[in-house]
Symmetry: C2
Subunit: 136 residues, 2 copies
DNA sequence: TATTGTTATACTCTATAACTATA
DNA sequence: TATAGTTATAGAGTATAACAATA
């Protein structure tokens, strides 16, 4: 009965994966969300703060402290948009990029481990395809 | 880059599934964990409290309040084992079983929805197989 | 009026240490 | 000494309401 529960399996798998992620990165003082923000900004320099929050499924009110933390560390800067003075455009700094470079090997190792557990890229892509059906 | 992130996809999918679960059951005042405990006890009457906790990936310290809640509602009873007076054996009550009966249609509907999203039982079993590789 | 970012706050989940009663 | 259950507590993560500045 419970063996069929998709939600239950999802929870257990997600817990295991995040636990490993945290262990890998904890020495660097990084959280999954921080990493996701930095990575996202490399591809979307100047993105709106609320856009980034929504892309990551985080409410804007809770995202403020996350950006504060990254800004205090010097990895991100807020710049008021000149078009719309309400919005904060987020930019990753050189220090942020350097930090990300330092982190990428750990990130890749993490993903390689998952790849090995799953049994290859094809299987991983298959899994991702299935997961997307659950929330797209 | 982030598109390949298994952990990220897992998180989003798990969030979406749990959100729907909560919406379905919230009117009944039930949480995913409570439901899992009741369901598990139907197959394992008299299981040790710490065994149930571990089976669900919950630390025994945090499991106490969960059992308290179910016991206060009359769905579960704790009985001290006569073999080892340290352990609490958990039993689902008749009221618990009746409550579970009431809940099963909602549960089935929830799983049917996931099944439809995924595209059938074969696909679901495939997904569960892949998820198990990540934490077994 | 509506939206962006912000603050404050509360609630849940999770993690850790220490206690008790039993073994 | 070790284990099961418990208590207390602290830290994340998440959710909601209200406010200021701006549109």
């Amino acid at each position: 009965m419970m063996e069929d529960a998709v939600g239950y399996r999802l929870r257990r798998a997600q817990l295991a994966v995040f636990q490993h992620f945290n262990e890998s990165f904890s020495a660097k003082g990084l959280r999954p969300t921080d990493f996701a923000v930095l990575l996202l900004l490399t591809r979307n320099q100047g993105a709106k703060q609320s856009e980034v929050a929504e892309a990551l499924g985080i409410q804007r009110a809770n995202f403020v402290a996350i950006v504060d933390g990254l800004e205090n560390k010097g990895f991100v800067v807020r710049r008021k948009s000149e078009v719309d003075r309400r919005v904060q455009a987020l930019h990753i700094t050189d220090a942020g990029l350097a930090y990300l470079d330092e982190l990428m090997p750990i990130w890749r190792e993490h993903e390689e481990r998952l790849l090995a557990q799953l049994g290859g890229e094809q299987v991983r892509d298959q899994l991702i395809g299935l997961l997307k059906r659950l929330y797209d």
